[in-house]
Symmetry: none
Subunit: 231 residues, 2 copies
């Protein structure tokens, strides 16, 4: 049984592209051109995941999201325009499960849909444990994905966005070695690394923030890359 996904966006072109990619992955697609239609479809059809554009005529994505949270319980991915409000979104967070910023790479959207479906429907049938689903724990470090905050033994450590994405990469795969290229791609969301010094500076800052000897957490493997210790 295929998952049914709602795409809510006022631009037909975007709906089209998303539909193409997602159908290729075997999902069933339902489209909505505005917020009120989105709400109606969620009420009437059985939707497993919703992609909501924030900027829509009439009822915007935020209000649709609130509506969903009041009545249903399904994973929601917000789509927002870059720059204009992407930072704000990270800051105030209204309970969405994930975000995509426009313009986006279709494959990224597919990957996020996949991963959210998996996370949501994997274990308990749709019953999600909000706290654990969005926080990563490795040793005495805990990374809260909602708030972009890292905790070491409960002590809170602030991270920048790049640092956050790097820590996420490490903590999703503890013990694994990543090359600087891979770290760059994860942290900067860019394919072409001009200079690897960037990555080194960032690792250095991270180590400083982790205090004590930061090298207890992130270790250098000369000639290969870096690894976060498992325990």
């Amino acid at each position: 049984m295929a998952y049914r996904i709602l795409i809510a966006d006022d631009e037909a072109e975007i709906r089209e592209i998303l539909r193409l990619y997602l159908e290729k992955e075997g999902y069933e697609i339902v489209e909505a051109a505005d917020g009120t239609e989105a709400v109606r479809l969620i009420r009437e059809e059985k939707i497993d995941l919703a992609l909501l554009d924030i900027m829509m005529p009439g009822m915007d994505g935020y209000r649709v999201l609130r509506n969903i949270r009041e009545e249903n319980n399904l994973p929601v991915i917000m789509i927002s325009a870059k720059g204009s409000d992407s930072d704000k979104i990270l800051g105030l967070d209204l309970g969405a499960d994930d975000y995509i910023t426009k313009p986006f790479v279709p494959l990224e959207a597919v990957a996020r849909v996949k991963s959210n479906l998996r996370r949501f429907y994997a274990l308990g049938a749709g019953e999600r444990q909000k706290e654990q689903g969005t926080a990563l724990q490795v040793g005495n470090l805990r990374l809260e994905q909602d708030s972009c905050l890292l905790y070491r033994n409960g002590e809170r450590i602030e991270l920048t966005s790049v640092e956050f994405r790097i820590m996420k990469l490490f903590m999703e795969n503890p013990g694994r070695v990543f090359t600087k290229q891979q770290i760059f791609e994860a942290g900067w969301e860019e394919a072409y690394m001009v200079s690897d010094n960037n990555v080194m500076v960032c690792i250095s800052k991270l180590r400083a923030k982790l205090e004590r000897d930061g090298r207890e957490y992130i270790r250098t493997i000369r000639g290969l890359g870096y690894r976060m210790e498992k325990e």
Copy 2:
């Protein structure tokens, strides 16, 4: 099996440069001088990734892209002229997986091609996980490829990058004899061995790390090379 890449650009010089660099990386190249030819080639040949110039006579890159999205599913990198429209592209175009702006550094193009191929074809088959993800076990030795760590009866042994590659060679083919030349090529990822003393020093260090009498693990075959004992 080499990836096959389509280069679609009306300037022969650019095609030539890209071809040179990409062939050096072991990719197979197919060229198209305009959009209609590109579409034909994608339909007829088996293409794994397409590089499309936006400005082409006849059918432009956008239309080729849309055509690809309707019929096939492969990563597409757009090539655009700098300044004139690069920003616009980011704004309104949504279907491409990546962008390169002219003039570009060839190595950047290569990096983007590589990274997009990896992203696209890694997830799907999961064959990369088999290649990288598994640990090698021989006797009481276990080599974790993810973390570049060797374990002897659970006790952890750190390796340098050269040592790691040599152990990998041995443990992928336990019981087989390798000449110093072969060991050099695996460990140093270079063809020409200046002096075989290098290899001997490294084997010596490895034996020391394996403790006890390291020769229980790596045996010398006089006049031939070395062999890792099967068990």
